[in-house]
């Protein structure tokens, strides 16, 4: 063996970290749940249940995409659940108000409501980003604060009572409508997925998001402006949470401060982490996060169908999340040896 070869003897020994490597144990888990459920309960593959699963998956994926972007950039967003609720309430209130002042003009009313809902999500996200980037407070603490504040705001606006009075065309024509047998929320999620894949792979923002989470010092030395890209990641997360709030509102037919919440926030983190997003930052792909959200939705659905105590659900979710992260760590350590 000559010394030139000896310097990098382990080159050939790499296992192919192809698609399968990146997906990890996820496909196996997904398959196991689907097969197990199909055998256990015929209701599982009934069309109504499948639509139900897809709808829930759509809501969760959209929130999880934003969450993933923030985590990949080295941050954390605990406020997404609260933003879902606030966007729902604000949009419903705005539509009810506009409905009273310009009755009949559905297009104006819907546009106003959607703008108000998305706007408050975007604003909350920007506030998160500004605090992280400019005040140098960690994302965990900042978003813990905004989560609390935004939840309070939602409750203040509604006193906990659902907000009605939205145009029929928003609820029946959009939220509950189906195209080729699929709910509109599914199309929204697919559209956002396509956009996010493009953003991650083909845009400067996506590249810098990876770089900042991967090694912020190296990004600074390479001349990447950190602040704006951090703010943008939180802003996108807020915006996507608000979009989920709007889709939920349109589907249910009322604005509710109880939408989203802690459960949605925890599930979005779970979906990201099980989907291979590293909490250390710099690693993760949205398409795998989408599969992981599908898995979590099927799991929740399965636990419901099997009449398992709803209090046990979070225990199962918690266990699966820890196992997924442990596997991620194990593979990282195996790679570090190389």
């Amino acid at each position: 063996m000559s010394s030139a070869v000896a310097a990098y003897p382990r080159l050939e020994r790499h296992p192919g970290f192809g698609l399968l490597g990146r997906l990890g144990i996820l496909p196996a888990l997904l398959l196991a749940v689907v097969i197990g459920m199909s055998a256990a309960d015929p209701h599982f593959y009934g069309p109504i249940n499948i639509l139900n699963i897809l709808r829930n998956t759509a809501f969760l994926t959209i929130v999880a995409f934003g969450q993933s972007l923030v985590i990949i950039g080295g941050g954390f967003d605990l406020s997404v659940g609260a933003i879902v609720a606030l966007a729902s309430v604000v949009a419903a209130k705005a539509m009810a108000g506009l409905g009273a002042s310009v009755p009949g003009q559905d297009a104006t009313i819907i546009a106003g409501g959607v703008a108000a809902g998305l706007g408050c999500g975007l604003a909350a996200g920007i506030v998160n980003g500004l605090c992280v980037a400019k005040l140098r407070v960690t994302g965990f603490v900042v978003t813990l604060g905004t989560m609390s504040a935004v939840t309070g705001l939602g409750l203040m606006l509604t006193n906990g009572i659902p907000v009605y009075g939205m145009p029929d065309s928003f609820v029946k024509g959009f939220g509950r409508a189906q195209l080729l047998g699929l709910p509109t929320a599914v199309y929204a999620a697919l559209l956002i997925l396509a956009l996010m894949i493009f953003v991650q792979r083909r845009t400067l923002f996506g590249r810098y998001n990876y770089a900042i989470g991967g090694n912020v010092e190296a990004a600074v030395v390479s001349g990447v402006s950190i602040g704006w890209h951090v703010i943008a990641a939180y802003a996108v997360s807020g915006l996507l949470a608000a979009a989920t709030g709007l889709l939920l509102t349109a589907q249910v037919g009322s604005g509710q401060a109880s939408f989203g919440g802690d459960r949605m926030m925890l599930q979005s983190i779970a979906a990201a982490v099980i989907g291979g997003v590293s909490l250390r930052g710099g690693v993760g792909r949205v398409e795998i996060v989408a599969i992981s959200a599908l898995f979590l939705s099927i799991l929740s659905n399965a636990v419901n169908l099997l009449h398992i105590d709803s209090r046990i659900q979070p225990i199962i979710l918690g266990l699966i999340m820890v196992v997924a992260v442990a596997l991620d760590e194990a593979s990282r350590r195996r790679k570090a040896r190389v």
Partner: protein
């Protein structure tokens, strides 16, 4: 007319620094440093670890703004330099601490911060083409689509160099670029440097290797303790001159005469192999009352050997005996109980809790003793008293044990580590690169400390990449190469020639 113009250009240096000072909390890293680099010149920065070379490079590449001084580049005065702007005006640094994002691919890293994009959308095809052209030009054996954390250190180094050469370069800064390159790759790099010089690129080159300085340098600037000592022509300066300027004293004064009195074998290792394969079938022993040295190049397994003995790196085969009794490998805690201490090379990553005071850092390895805690309750007064005494013995300056470890200089940090050795009863001391990152004064004190340990009958093992250090300190010297012991030298055999020869001998045997 033409020749006048050329002469004029050569007279005005490409880079001109005057009176550059930089202070960090508690440490004056640079003190009125002057430096000028001409176009087409290779200018070596020479100095010990902690002399201020890295800080100076960081100032030139825009990472640290200087507190004082003027900075001229290409005849223009530069203010408020950022890393981004430095690259834009043609200052390209190759850092020793890699400035790469491990989770991104080679080509993503090459273009980081200056991607080819239109309206925020990346043009992957053009970047790929450009990356391939550049890597082919450099003659590196590097796959642009691989992730950086999958690469060997040598390949990461190549990526770093390629990154610096992408785009228009007027001043290239190389910080120990050959540290992890093979002979062949080093040869390619030197060819490249010659080519860049003829193209009028100025180079700043940091290296400790005399051979490289002889081969490449036009001028050498010596730094010591953050000050500019002298700038000399490489051709007229001898190796001895440079070392003397660097250390500020004759080198033999640096190492104390250690009265070795070899006694019983305290530590005995037989056929040791570690799980990661860095150490393979090593036999080695250390006696009480002497310093046992382990020399070798970076990555030869010498650090892993002592780490395995201490219980950090996993052992798969072989035996470790203490005082003649074989011991099971269990972990650092058990090793300390048995009287074995380890002083890591990387004191920031593995040694100290930077946000905690000196007192807590020094007592950390001894809190299981009744002296410091009883039934899980700390005894703060006893702790304070004990650590004060220890730090007084180690001549900690200033003698304030409540300061945070993060606020200390490299030398004082090493003293905090040494303090751990004095808080409990130990017989075996494993030092891993004991003088990395500390100044000459602190080095002398560390060596004196080792001398004191040997006098009290301890077994001291010193692992070091700095050949003069292990040669001068050790009574017996092992040379490691590619995970194995290549030679054991003592007495008159213990010479630099023999150590180097044992590398080549080994190479020859493997090639045959």
């Amino acid at each position: 007319m033409n020749s006048l113009g050329t002469a004029g250009r050569q007279d005005a240096p490409l880079l001109e620094l005057k009176g550059i000072s930089k202070r960090f909390t508690g440490v004056r890293a640079l003190d009125g440093v002057d430096l000028d680099v001409r176009a087409g010149e290779l200018h070596v920065l020479f100095g010990e670890n902690g002399a201020g070379k890295s800080t100076l490079i960081n100032v030139i590449s825009g990472s640290f703004p200087p507190d004082e001084g003027t900075f001229r580049f290409g005849g223009e005065e530069i203010h408020d330099l950022t890393p981004h702007r430095a690259r834009a005006i043609g200052i390209s640094p190759v850092f020793q601490e890699f400035s790469l994002v491990p989770s991104l691919s080679v080509e993503d890293n090459l273009f980081l911060g200056r991607e080819i994009a239109a309206g925020g959308v990346l043009n992957a095809r053009r970047m790929r083409k450009r990356a391939r052209t550049l890597i082919d030009e450099l003659g590196f054996d590097l796959d642009p689509s691989r992730r950086v954390d999958d690469l060997s250190r040598a390949h990461q180094q190549m990526t770093e160099i390629a990154k610096a050469l992408l785009g228009r370069v007027r001043l290239l800064i190389l910080d120990e670029p050959t540290a992890s390159l093979t002979e062949r790759e080093t040869g390619r790099l030197f060819e490249l440097i010659v080519k860049l010089k003829t193209e009028g690129v100025g180079l700043i080159y940091v290296s400790h290797r005399m051979r490289e300085i002889r081969a490449l340098a036009d001028r050498v600037t010596v730094l010591r303790d953050g000050r500019h000592i002298r700038t000399l022509d490489a051709a007229s300066a001898s190796d001895g001159d440079l070392v003397e300027l660097m250390t500020g004293r004759k080198i033999d004064v640096l190492f104390p005469a250690i009265p070795h009195a070899p006694g019983a074998v305290t530590l005995d290792v037989e056929n040791l192999t570690t799980a990661d394969g860095a150490v393979q079938g090593v036999n080695f022993h250390a006696r009480a009352g002497e310093i046992t040295g382990i020399a070798g190049l970076v990555g030869c397994g010498k650090s892993e050997l002592v780490r395995a003995i201490y219980g950090i790196d996993a052992i798969v085969d072989g035996m470790v005996r203490l005082h003649g009794h074989s011991v099971e490998q269990s972990g650092p805690r058990e090793s300390l109980r048995r009287g074995v201490a380890y002083f890591p090379a990387n004191r920031v990553a593995e040694g100290l809790a930077l946000s905690r005071p000196i007192r807590e850092n020094s007592s950390m390895t001894a809190l299981d003793l009744d002296r410091f805690a009883r039934l899980g309750f700390l005894r703060p007064r006893a702790e304070r008293r004990a650590i004060s005494v220890v730090m007084e013995r180690l001549k900690l300056r200033p003698p304030d044990i409540e300061r945070n470890a993060g606020a200390l200089s490299g030398g004082n940090r090493q003293k905090v580590m040494l303090g751990r050795a004095l808080t409990r009863d130990l017989q075996v001391f494993l030092f891993d690169e004991p003088s990395v990152g500390i100044d000459v004064g602190a080095k002398v004190e560390v060596y004196e400390f080792m001398k004191h340990l040997v006098e009290t009958g301890a077994a001291v093992v010193v692992v070091s990449s700095e050949l003069p250090e292990v040669l001068a300190l050790s009574n017996r010297l092992y040379v490691m190469h590619q995970g194995r012991i290549a030679a054991e030298l003592s007495g008159d055999d213990k010479t630099e020639q023999n150590v180097l020869a044992s590398f080549f001998q080994d190479h020859g045997r493997e090639a045959a």
